[in-house]
Symmetry: C2
Subunit: 270 residues, 2 copies
């Protein structure tokens, strides 16, 4: 009983420290700190209510905030571009990186031994990235990292009486750099780029995937000839990495179109 | 040229009438009527900008408004219920019915001959429905009807300077009756209900689907015995109708659980 009390006291002190740190990250003082406590509590930590309800609210609030941003910032872009901008800025990949760059990832309260390991490995990989990663890196982004960003946004939103503009003033900075059409143009999605290029060249692309021992291998065939294979523990990443390698092998230089649409690519040599 | 001018004049007068009627439906006077004009313009009508950008904004605004509603109205329901409430209230099925019940469906400006026919057929079917349809009726709901509701919500939201609470005061009434956990409990999703029931009875369910001449036929087998088949031009609806028919054949009476979770069902006889 004494042990339990000490444990609880330790947990409580740790959470108070976490709240203080997150308030510093956000440069925002919560009127109701219980909201932030909830936002930092993973479902595996069963002593308190978890972030799951706040995460749903934060996800919807972020979705609308990003659409408002894109709608106002790009008045002449077609609706497809607005959707692409939304997806890129609310993806698990993007938000997991936000959790790391902001430091929020350190303050999740949980009771899942495997979580720390996954987060540590992902954090190390992200810190080695030289450029902004949009479409998925070496490892699948742990969902908990994206969840925590959404739940903290949800907590700020509720604390500010569901005022989205005021919320964006507090949390908008976390999302920087916001992924723009220009950034996507410079880094077109590798799989789409490969298909677009081969279509232009009148070539047939096939991506074959096989799974063994939790690893997916994606093999790219162009006109029935194997070009390259890549493996990953995540199906989509295997495909992405194989497409990236195929484009490199084909010695691609992206050619940026001038009309602001997502870029096309030119084939130099194969 | 004269003809074109007359055409344009007619179009303009018709749009002014449409704007007046929609303002009456909403009981709201637009500061910028151009927004509503855009919101009522289908992409097939190429003389003016279409509703597509506003529809994306309206979709996100509605998504957040419904989540806010569910979050505040059901403080003790788990996150899964919040997600179900969101999906049920922003589905194409639900919004297409909103377009009809509000009368908004009459004011879409378009240039697609097949659209009127589809909308007319769907409207007739909906008007014959005796009860609230949540999961899909006889015919696939035309997407244009859901789009128009979202774009009008987007137009109100922009006209009100992106103030979601003020927008909800104007458009919230359109969504009535909002689908609640209680309504979903009384009408559980037929396919889930069938699987749940058979699992309870230790029976094996298989749904086999075949497609011919644009029609999908779903056949339900219980313990390898064909129970019923149903066809529809929409794959999901064929499954839904077959499951509904199978449940009827099994003479089901729903038993509503007391804890507010989505209902379970009892088998009376087969």
């Amino acid at each position: 009983m004494e042990m339990l009390k000490n444990d609880d006291e330790d947990d409580c002190l740790e959470m108070l420290e976490a709240i203080k740190s997150v308030e510093q990250i956000l440069n925002y003082k919560f009127k109701d700190q219980k909201l932030l406590e909830k936002a930092l509590t993973h479902p595996s930590y069963t002593k308190s209510e978890s972030y799951e309800r706040l995460e749903i609210v934060g996800d919807a609030a972020l979705g609308l905030a990003i659409i408002n941003f894109a709608y106002l910032a790009y008045p002449h872009h077609d609706p497809g571009v607005l959707s692409i901008i939304r997806s890129a800025n609310i993806s698990t990949e993007k938000l997991a990186r936000v959790a790391i760059s902001s430091g929020l990832y350190k303050y999740v309260r949980h009771n899942s031994p495997s979580l720390d390991h996954k987060v540590k490995k992902f954090t190390e990989l992200v810190q080695q990235e030289e450029d902004i990663t949009i479409y998925g890196g070496e490892m699948k982004a742990p969902k908990v990292l994206a969840d925590i960003v959404e739940s903290v946004i949800g907590a700020v939103y509720e604390d500010l009486c569901f005022d989205l503009k005021a919320t964006w003033l507090v949390v908008g900075g976390l999302l920087e750099p916001i992924i723009t059409p220009q950034m996507l143009q410079k880094k077109p999605q590798p799989v789409s780029q490969l298909f677009e290029l081969c279509q232009k060249n009148g070539q047939q692309v096939d991506i074959k995937q096989t799974r063994e021992n939790d690893k997916t291998t994606a093999s790219i065939y162009i006109d029935n000839k194997l070009i390259v294979s890549a493996s990953s523990d995540q199906k989509d990443n295997a495909k992405l990495h194989a497409a990236t390698a195929a484009l490199e092998k084909m010695d691609i230089r992206s050619s940026f179109s001038e009309n602001g649409k997502i870029g096309t690519a030119k084939r130099k040599a194969i």
